[in-house]
């Protein structure tokens, strides 16, 4: 596991420094979004693809993770460092001028901690939601998870105002005076948690993406992961083989929720994004589902390709933005009628017959 992790780290560093020198800010943010969407699609694939459970509330975890991470980077920063401003660093945010910024000495560790908090909070919630609902059959689960996302949205809408500078006092002073327990509830209600420090950089987005792909791949090719796959193939048979299906379903759910939470933290801290309750709603969940179904339920490389395509498509379709969702919807319907397994099915890109022929006829299993 050491070498793949090192490779992920190198990949993220290359994307970060390479992307920052080559791309202008607009494309750099697009590349960040691609990283976040890969994380989301691949993590949802662990539940919907590997385990065969249909979750429709992934955006709920995204939002919970984003808000939890935001509470740490905004209120936590004010409490610990005495300032809500972003702590600059080589790997933080998307600064145009990076000369003289510390490498690994700035906000990097703090943001990593915040992302982990976001992921863990989402995972905890995933456990709470998953335990009762994963005892249900497929389509009930879809409804419960869809309802969960909407509940998250409604609950966030009820939250109080963000503590900002005002009345002659700075935000830091006001936060210092506010009791600690009120802080998690002051996340902006329906107006959104919009003034977060924008820590997300190409490095973090693509490190998360690489880590998610890595975990998903190890999961798919390990004996432990086969328990997930067996539930997808035949739940009764899996149970007869001694797989504790409920336990494994909950595990897949928790794992996926964790990565969705991390992606949420990254999303909320992206330049130009205002985290709002809408991000927990079904529309966002559908976006992620489209990526997974398009790529092929169960295929990691398929989810990655689909995440990239679905992120770039709106840019190409800018002229016909009104029709974007109609095109997606028709794609979904036609895909289910003519190629229900998606782009790649459960296979990976390198297992496709065409590629296998190029690579010398080596047979790969699924």
């Amino acid at each position: 596991m050491v070498w793949p992790l090192a490779a992920a780290l190198v990949y993220a560093l290359v994307v970060h420094f390479g992307g920052r020198t080559v791309l202008d800010p607009y494309y750099a943010i697009l590349l960040v979004t691609i990283g976040i969407n890969i994380t989301l699609a691949v993590s949802l694939n662990m539940v919907n693809g590997f385990t065969g459970q249909f979750s429709m509330g992934h955006a709920g975890f995204l939002a919970v993770g984003g808000y939890a991470c935001g509470i740490v980077t905004y209120y936590g920063s004010a409490k610990v460092f005495g300032s809500t401003a972003m702590r600059q660093g080589q790997l933080c945010g998307m600064p145009l001028e990076t000369a003289g910024l510390p490498f690994l000495g700035g906000g990097e560790w703090f943001f990593l901690l915040a992302l982990l908090v976001g992921g863990l909070v989402a995972a905890g919630l995933g456990y709470i939601v998953g335990l009762p609902s994963l005892r249900l059959r497929g389509d009930y689960l879809a409804i419960v998870t869809l309802g969960f996302g909407e509940i998250v949205r409604v609950v966030i809408q009820q939250s109080g105002k963000v503590i900002k500078a005002g009345g002659g006092k700075s935000a830091e002073q006001l936060i210092r005076d506010a009791p600690l327990y009120t802080l998690p509830g002051s996340v902006g209600g329906s107006l959104g948690f919009d003034n977060l420090p924008k820590y997300t950089s190409l490095f973090w987005a693509h490190l998360a993406a690489a880590a998610t792909v890595l975990v998903a791949y190890r999961l798919k090719s390990s004996t432990y992961g086969r328990a997930f796959l067996s539930i997808r193939e035949d739940e009764v048979a899996a149970e007869a083989m001694g797989v504790n299906t409920t336990k494994f379903k909950v595990r897949a759910f928790v794992l996926a929720a964790f990565f969705a939470g991390v992606a949420g933290g990254l999303y909320g801290s992206t330049l130009g994004v205002a985290l709002s309750p809408v991000d927990a709603g079904f529309q966002k969940s559908f976006d992620i589902i489209i990526m997974v179904v398009l790529g092929g339920l169960g295929s990691i490389s398929g989810a990655v390709v689909a995440a990239v395509v679905v992120t770039l498509l709106p840019e190409w379709l800018r002229g016909v933005a009104e029709y974007r969702m109609i095109i997606y919807a028709l794609t979904l319907i036609l895909l289910m009628i003519f190629r229900p397994q998606g782009l790649l099915g459960v296979r990976e890109a390198w297992e496709m017959p065409l590629l296998r022929k190029w690579m010398g006829g080596k047979r790969g299993g699924t």
Binding site: L136, G138, I143, V144, E150, R153, Y323, M325, I326, A329
Partner: protein, 311 residues
């Protein structure tokens, strides 16, 4: 006392709407075993078609509003909306769901999501309904019939409730007392056996979709009558409405027509009692809490039977 009466009245009036919509979910689930996600969008379509028709007819009549509208206009709008939505329901079933008759349930579910997204976003087009909420012109001259304490029972309440109940009685008769209804129940019981007994399964399924879509259209019309302002087709409140109606179907016992009516009433009352006596901002949360409780305690629903899965 007034508050209690008001809450019961609102709950029943809301509940009858949920019940109408829940019937469409429960009938389709009973026969095809999948959640028709596009059902709530047919409700939206019904509401918007009613609005467009009411708008054009009252304008043609000189824009006199409720006073100038003839008494039969509301009924005419309702029937037209129901027929139009029935046709659309038929088309959806034929084009999107029928090719998937033998495929895994997940694929059908994804298709249903696709159909739902398609209807929502087509409705949002500027050339269709647009992205802004609009108000329906009054079709019926409202009057207060009865006042108990401070609670007014209005003509519109009575018409809404009466229409819903009449449609439900009609459906109940259709399902339990006609040959077609017997065929529907047979297909829902076992599709293969039903087809061996000479029941035209595809035609029965189409008919089920048409009936469900017509009830949904009626639900949309009554919703428009009740609230006047209609949100844009992709608004999340519509999805919530559909979800709650589905919850009603599950609570009553999915696949069970009478259960859906009961579940709808239960949901309507729960929601109104919750928002009147606990907190109105958490209105949507009670319904899902009930869903989770029902699924854990009695997964078959109130009137449903526990199904043993055979291997």
């Amino acid at each position: 006392m007034d508050q209690l009466l008001q809450t019961i009245k609102d709950g029943i009036s809301m509940g009858s709407l949920y019940a109408l919509i829940a019937l469409g979910y429960t009938m389709v689930y009973g026969i095809l075993k999948f959640i028709n996600f596009a059902h709530s969008d047919v409700v939206v379509l019904g509401a918007w078609l009613s609005l467009v028709m009411a708008d054009t007819t009252t304008r043609a009549l000189g824009g006199a509003g409720a006073a100038g509208a003839p008494w039969w206009l509301g009924g005419a709008v309702l029937v037209t909306a129901m027929v139009a939505c029935g046709l659309i329901g038929f088309t959806i079933e034929r084009l999107a769901y029928k090719p998937l008759r033998g495929s895994p349930r997940l694929n059908v579910l994804i298709t249903a999501i696709g159909v739902s997204l398609f209807l929502q976003n087509t409705g949002q087009l500027r050339a269709v309904f647009g992205t802004n909420p609009r108000s329906i012109p009054p079709l019926i001259h409202d009057a207060t019939l009865l006042t108990v304490g401070q609670v007014n029972f209005k003509l519109l309440d009575l018409i809404g409730f009466g229409t819903a109940v009449a449609l439900m009685i009609g459906l109940d008769y259709l399902v339990f007392h006609t040959k077609l209804g017997r065929a529907m129940r047979a297909v829902s019981h076992n599709r293969v056996t039903a087809s061996l007994m000479g029941i035209p399964v595809d035609r029965v399924i189409s008919f089920t979709f048409v009936t469900g879509a017509m009830l949904a259209a009626a639900g949309g019309f009554l919703w428009a009558l009740k609230y006047e302002t209609i949100k844009q087709p992709a608004d999340s409140s519509w999805v919530l409405l559909g979800l709650k109606a589905f919850v009603a179907a599950v609570v009553g016992g999915i696949g069970n027509v009478r259960g859906a009516m009961l579940g709808g009433m239960a949901i309507g009352l729960l929601e109104n009692f919750g928002s009147a006596y606990l907190s109105s901002s958490m209105k949507d949360v009670y319904v899902f809490a009930l869903l989770i409780v029902v699924l854990l305690v009695r997964p078959g629903g109130i009137l449903g039977k526990a199904v043993v899965e055979k291997v």
